[in-house]
Symmetry: C2
Subunit: 454 residues, 2 copies
């Protein structure tokens, strides 16, 4: 094992180049103009897999392509499926980036670029570990399958169909995913659950065109109406105010709450890290709980009327808001979608028209941290990071874990490598290179330990 | 008089070219990139004034320049000051225009372009009338002064100072302004009052950058907070909910209300014209009253987070709204500004920071429709349009009328020429060419009748 870890460490510079090359590709799956860039990122991952000795192929879907790589020559050993994604979020306002978002830049122990943390850096640790085993022993101790898609940031619209058509090919005993976060920098973490997502866009329209605001008085202003409508979606306590929204919520066990409470967490420091004056949420839950085991409703974007600098005295013809809800077990995304639509339509004032657009649905997920593979992962993490593993849920969504559970019948082990301050989806996204190194070491060890779990 | 009107009509094609040339200049005073275009429009007006025999000069101010033209050779006759503005609003979304906003296009009896109605078409009727008198008689029956500024759409920040420095030069007995609307197409109208304006921008900011919405729960979302804040600014009845907002409001007299009620107005048709499903407003007031004698609060623009097509799961770092209030006598813009700031600051939730930007202030205005000049105007309108004049207030603002009253001690006669459907400030702004012709005839007559009022 020490020899394999030495082999791994010797390749660090080359592995950094892998990330540089992959990170430089603007594989923004949400924007059509980046279609060829997304394909290029997929091709690059495929090329890297083949380069280390895996058999790999780019597979077409109804949307962006994906990569399936494999090395299944360990007869009798367990089979492990690795999942990751090569697509990224839009850069947002380029002025907020300190370095160009698609020019990967290393500053101290951090790599900055869109996708560094979500999910290009983390997905590469599995390739690094496989390379160490293959170059050091000529084989892998387990049967390895790797699935890297490129539609995660748009809700993986074609992955379910692909899995349905490839159940045999992707059959496995364990699923490993690194697309979640570390509890704190350098603190090894297994994510035991993820929140679901129900993402909507509400558009209120009134006059045919923008009106001179001197006509104001008898006309319902779509932007005012939208604000009033959004305001109804929370009560004064900060709870989501949609009838039935909390009906299916399962509260965490006393044990899980105690475990969370035992983790050191400094609200003041967290507020400073985010840059907010103070933290607030639904009463009765602490910050970690609010961000993981409780559901939310957030406006992700709002627009309407005159949005440029200066002023323009108009009544907007229309105004819209992108609104997403993070869901927890056992909320069902389809149910919440229906409840949201019913509440919004019922509350839409007379005088404007209401359109609701569906953007994405994802189910929440939870799996108790037990079983030999989960134990192996905790051991490998503890040895590689030098401390006990934190077990907690993620506030984000990972729709794929439910799809895997549905179609392959296997729970996923979510081994996060992103710093809490990695700023995934925001400007200056970054990842800690040492944590990536420790992650790669973890996978070298874990491949070995998983071989012993069968 | 008939000879003068014939002379006027003979020049119709040339006068249409004046409007074409002036309308083609994108003199958007709210956008810095159009600075030279604004100056070009001012130069063009000056050139036209000199072309018809007025002495004219472009005058610098602290911002965009203005034109002062004059022809004061009628000893013993009254002096009339004409005011207009050569600047225009931004075009807004170009996709909503059927023809390019700065390519004046005639369709049937209408001229389409930004500024056709507000205020390039109307301001030119005074030049047309002066030209008829000068070419027909070699003189004007009154002393004429013309002031055309280019900062009306940004609140005329430099006009007061210019008037203070030029009181003597602009001294007059009557002020004529055509920057208001017709009650209905082809229905001559004098506007007896205008609403004031208090235009604000409220920006709420939270996290330093946009956050992944998976972090949602303990963080106050600036867009949600903004919506809740805006929602508080009206009560459930549609009244503005700012303490003290209505304290200084003077309700219209029973006579004025009866006069308004006597005007034919079809709510259903008005809703269809605007494209809205129905009309709504503060209870107890009809549509005409809501739009003229009652104050309002409207969101003119709202923005924050991800505003592009598709979805992005972020919590916005900031969100803002442009909010303007239309004011009625005797509300004071400065008082309303203070009350708005106090209410917004008091209601800004913890967890976000609040910034309030001031965009514009304008006082409301009202003048009873009496006196010989007002009678002369009604006579000239009746003869030119062939029907009795409608007297009503405008829902928009015309800050200059208060400034004139303050500094020159003279009330203004507001002779509207814009159609109710002219869509000033919106896409496909237009003006009825026949109404402009009747407006020019009105001014030919009015110059003569004013000479007899002294």
């Amino acid at each position: 094992m020490d020899k394999l870890l030495d082999l791994l460490r010797a390749q660090r510079a080359k592995h950094l180049d892998w990330l540089r090359q992959l990170g430089a590709i603007p594989s923004v799956s949400t924007e059509d103009e980046h279609r060829t860039d997304v394909r290029q990122a997929v091709d690059e991952v495929c090329r890297l897999c083949m380069g280390i000795g895996l058999s790999a192929a780019v597979c077409e879907t109804g949307g962006h392509p994906l990569v399936v790589a494999e090395h299944c020559h360990a007869a009798g050993a367990p089979t492990c499926l690795v999942y990751g994604h090569a697509d990224v979020q839009p850069m947002g306002d380029p002025a907020r980036w300190n370095t160009p978002p698609f020019e990967p830049t290393v500053v101290d122990d951090w790599m900055y670029c869109r996708g560094a943390a979500d999910d290009k850096g983390p997905l590469l640790v599995y390739l690094r570990a496989a390379e160490a085993w293959l170059s050091g022993t000529g084989k892998l101790p387990i049967n390895l399958k790797i699935l890297i898609e490129a539609e995660e940031e748009v809700g993986s619209p074609n992955l379910r169909a692909f899995l349905e058509q490839n159940r045999e090919r992707l059959a496995c005993d364990t699923i490993l995913i690194s697309d979640t976060g570390l509890f704190q920098d350098h603190w090894p973490t297994i994510t035991t659950g993820t929140r679901g997502l129900c993402y909507k866009e509400v558009v209120l329209s009134g006059p045919t065109g923008n009106l001179h605001s001197g006509l104001g008085g008898p006309v319902v202003n779509p932007a005012n109406a939208l604000a009033r409508l959004i305001a109804t979606l929370h009560d004064d306590q900060g709870r989501v105010n949609i009838p039935g929204f909390y009906d299916d919520v399962v509260e965490p066990t006393a044990e899980e709450r105690a475990q969370l409470a035992a983790l050191p967490f400094d609200d003041q420091q967290y507020a400073r890290d985010l840059g907010v004056p103070s933290l607030h949420g639904e009463p009765g839950w602490n910050t970690l709980e609010l961000g993981t085991v409780r559901p939310t409703l957030d406006v992700n974007g709002i627009y309407g009327g005159y949005m440029e600098p200066g002023s323009n005295t108009i009544i907007p013809a229309r105004a819209g808001a992108k609104i997403s809800m993070r869901l927890v077990p056992n909320q069902r995304a389809a149910t919440i979608s229906r409840l949201f639509n019913e509440a919004v339509r019922a509350r839409c004032p007379a005088g404007v028209r209401c359109e609701i657009i569906d953007h994405a649905l994802a189910e929440p997920y939870y799996a108790t941290p037990a079983g030999p593979a989960m134990q192996a992962a905790q051991l490998a993490l503890r040895e590689s990071f030098g401390r006990d593993v934190a077990l907690l849920r993620s506030g984000g969504s990972l729709p794929i874990v439910n799809t895997f559970r549905d179609l392959l019948g296997v729970n996923s082990i979510l081994i996060g490598l992103d710093s809490p301050n990695c700023n995934a989806h925001g400007p200056n996204e970054k990842i800690c290179l040492s944590d990536l190194d420790r992650g790669a070491e973890t996978m070298v060890r874990l491949f070995g330990y998983l071989a012993e779990t069968h």
